[in-house]
Symmetry: none
Subunit: 121 residues, 4 copies
DNA sequence: GTGGTCTAGACCACT
DNA sequence: GTGGTCTAGACCACG
């Protein structure tokens, strides 16, 4: 996953999305310790304050928790992660359907087109 | 349809997309006369040259044709329009699948989620 | 043959060329009487003076001759017409070779390409 | 090669043709870096935007590609260049045959005339 | 410095 | 009035 930002949305928002992705896909597994804010910020080439803000957001959602002394960890609550995964999926689905409707596709047609599209490796 | 531009992509590109949408959805039916370059430009609040560029692009694709004195017209070639509609649809599908894959959804799962999503009016 | 002028060269020059063409191709056969200057001018939608100048040029070349009372006639000298035909042909050939040379084609290659080109009806 | 424009066709079209010629003849070899838009424009004594338009056209055809910061380059695809050379050649041939036909020459005769014409240095 | 985009405003041909 | 072209000049992102 690359750390490229779009300028369209605030950077911290994009950081939240990328980190959610890593959690949801298991790249950051439940219970895993995250790198330090400073290291994550350096890796993403953003200001530490920006990264801090993104992590606070994740903490707010209950996706990560911090222990004063030992750092930040991904939640062990698998259900929460699964729920996030579904929520994000549904958002994508909703946007997809909206865009297809703009093109004049009803859901059935969109689904049909989906079936005939080859899946990449 | 609103004329709001994102700054992400060049304006003329976004103009092309909006106009394609209008053609594909039949808002501009085959054979219909478009407003003049100047009028369309005024409507979209862009420079006439920018609108001209977008229209030239559409002309290149064979979606519209221009007659010296009487204006620009949507192609009467329904197959071409249908092909564009499918192409645009496939692009959406491809991007959707890619995004879902990022979330760890394979196509079958994505399709399943699609089926359970209520379709808006 | 249409009477469309290019603006590139003087109109009377273009008239000369068109009339030469008609003579060379036999559309105006040897000895044939030409329409009056006024009629020809009307047909070509040019000023009679312009047509007059073109005809004078043709007369200078000996391709047409005028009889005071009865009008203008195409020369009966078949050799002269044949010579013109060849001269015009050679001019085309020369220009063709020059253009092909610009593209990096030597004569043999140009001739080869010529052979493989289908002749239209 | 001189930068003289005919007024018959748009300047940017003529620019495209001249540049194609330079590519096809190898004056701009495959992979070669073109001068900057501004320099080429100055050389041809046209507005940079006009030259830009011509270059964009060439880019559309895949004859050149641009790299954000370092400039424009001739394609390395020799086959593409060869194809263009042949296409341009065929166009000349077709026009030549059409003109000869106007003079009453069939292809065989035109070819014969071609053979007897001295090739210039 | 490079390419790329956009605006503003003018002029042309065509009818 | 229509589309089309051209110029002039500005601004941007990328390195």
């Amino acid at each position: 996953m690359s750390w490229i930002f779009s300028g369209e949305k605030p950077i911290y928002t994009q950081l939240v999305e990328r980190l959610q992705l890593r959690i949801v896909t298991g790249e950051y597994p439940p219970g895993a310790r995250l790198s330090s804010v400073r290291d994550l910020a350096a890796e993403a080439a953003v200001n530490p304050n920006t990264m801090q803000r993104a992590l606070a957001e994740l903490e707010n959602m209950g996706l990560v928790y911090s222990q004063r002394t030992s750092g930040r960890f991904v939640t062990e609550d698998g259900a929460k992660i699964a729920a996030l995964r579904e929520q994000l999926g549904r958002e994508k689905v909703r946007r997809f359907l909206a865009e297809m409707r703009e093109l004049g596709y009803r859901r059935a047609e969109a689904a049909a087109l989906l079936e005939t599209e080859e899946e990449e490796a």
